[in-house]
Amino acid sequence: MADIYTYLQPWITVLIWSTIVSWVYKDNRIFRVATVAMVAGGSANGILVNLDSYWNKGLLPIVNGTKPLMIVPVIISFMLFAVFFTRYSWLARIPTLTMMGISMGVMLSSVIGAQVLGQIDSTMTAITKGTGNVFGIINAILILIGVVCSILFFTYSKEHKGIYGTLTKYGRYFLLASLGPTWAGEVSYHMDFFIQYIQNIVNALRLFLPI
């Protein structure tokens, strides 16, 4: 025997989704309440999860003595609150720059290999390595032409006209062609929401109707 929650839950789901979807008709109070509730819920959850993480990974090791040196990053992180005091607001730059430094350091140590050398290597050697058939070679040549033309499109020191202008024009076409699949992926992502919404309505109706 199903409990009342089994019957209510699908309808609550549909109701909440519908408050968001109501914007499609026009901006309205229900939609605004729903968005504020969504942001508030997300923020509350984010704060709690981060506080929990801060306690477990930052404060607890100091309290139980396993990592006393964690006091250093904890003090640095607390400096962020200095932004609320005009006299000491400059202190907030220290944790900001520390985080930026760590992120940049972690990223820069491998960005050359991954996104510069690796990509150039793939582009240049694809023709020789190929895939063993003529289509693989044609594909590799197209990629090379596309890369060169697209890079030329981003040059600003020379006017885009004549043969050079033709190349940059093709570069623009290649860029637009690459944006197509990205946009299609975006549409697909949002269609998932719509399909899920319809699915939720059907699930809710199936509790009462033989469909």
Binding site: G42, V49, S53, V106, Q115, G185, S188, D192, F194, Q199
Partner: protein, 289 residues
């Protein structure tokens, strides 16, 4: 323009482009509703990158553990659920132990939500938490967190998502750092996160990555596929449907694929109609000019 019956434009071409959005939305809803009520069983084709992703998962080294990083939240659940479920079921079916962690604060609850559903499937029967899989929960710092996890997993996480000390979980005794990891599954709602994964997991630690992307991230992932770090790509709900077919773990993605196919045909038709309207109207205006 709130009145759905109102059609803008004077000529036929202009009127074609002035159809109220309500009718397009309604048409889409009907096209989605039909296969949900009566599945059509439209054929599903598999892409080479999903096949490669599937092969990478089932052929992951048995003596190593699969690490699964999740960077998506509540907003991406509709797109993520199908493939996430399929990947978990395939991992269970092939006895591949895995460790999940989250890089988004609201992701651990969603991992748990999907896990509860997966545990009811046939593939999950007999699987034991702590032995066959572990859910570690949230870790902050994005790309820097990858380094932390790769260098010393036991330092990055002291407890799992449920508060159990990780030293008490048998699976965690097998993995300490990147030397014990065989494959990375990187799932993300951001378009460009794969660049961070490649920079760290592949360039620094030489670990292969299965990119599981929710939005247009496949176009970025493909720059690193197949031999620059990314060994396979799972593209959102479509990738989920392909995985269900490849792994014979049929579920929600297969049932949603019919709806998606019909809705995309509708969208394509609307785009064609929009272009006919645009060029027809323009040609007429130029003619008048």
């Amino acid at each position: 323009m709130l009145n759905p019956w109102e059609v803008k434009g004077k000529t036929l071409f202009e009127k074609l482009g002035g159809i109220h959005w309500f009718w397009i939305g309604l048409l889409l809803a009907v096209m989605i509703l039909i296969p949900i009520l009566h599945p059509l069983g439209l054929p599903i084709t598999t892409t080479p990158w999903t096949v490669d992703a599937y092969n990478a998962i089932i052929n992951a080294p048995d003596d190593k553990v699969i690490i699964w990083e999740d960077l998506w939240g509540l907003g991406a659940t509709a797109a993520a659920e199908a493939a996430h479920t399929a990947v978990m079921r395939i991992l269970f079916a092939n006895n591949k132990p895995f460790i999940m962690y989250s890089e988004a604060p609201d992701n651990p609850q969603l991992q748990q939500y999907i896990t509860e559903k997966v545990l009811k499937t046939a593939e999950a029967q007999g699987k034991v938490y702590g032995v066959d899989w572990v859910q570690l929960g949230f870790i902050a710092s994005g790309e820097a967190a990858i380094v932390s996890v790769a260098e010393n997993l036991h330092s990055a996480f002291k407890t799992d998502y449920f508060g159990t000390p990780i030293d008490k979980l048998p699976l965690m005794a097998k993995v300490h750092n990147y030397n014990d990891m065989g494959l990375i599954i990187s799932s993300f709602g951001s378009t460009t996160w794969i660049e961070s994964s490649v920079r760290q997991w592949y360039i620094k630690y030489n670990l292969p990555i299965v990119s599981y992307t929710m939005t247009g991230g496949a176009t970025i992932s493909v720059a690193y596929y197949p031999n620059k770090g990314v060994v396979g790509i799972i593209e959102g709900g479509r990738g989920g449907a392909e995985l269900e077919y490849l792994g014979k773990v049929y579920g929600i993605a297969q049932s949603q694929t019919d709806a998606k196919t019909l809705s995309f045909i509708t969208i394509a038709a609307v785009i064609v109609i929009g272009n006919i309207s645009y060029f027809g109207s323009r040609g007429r205006k130029e003619g008048e000019g």
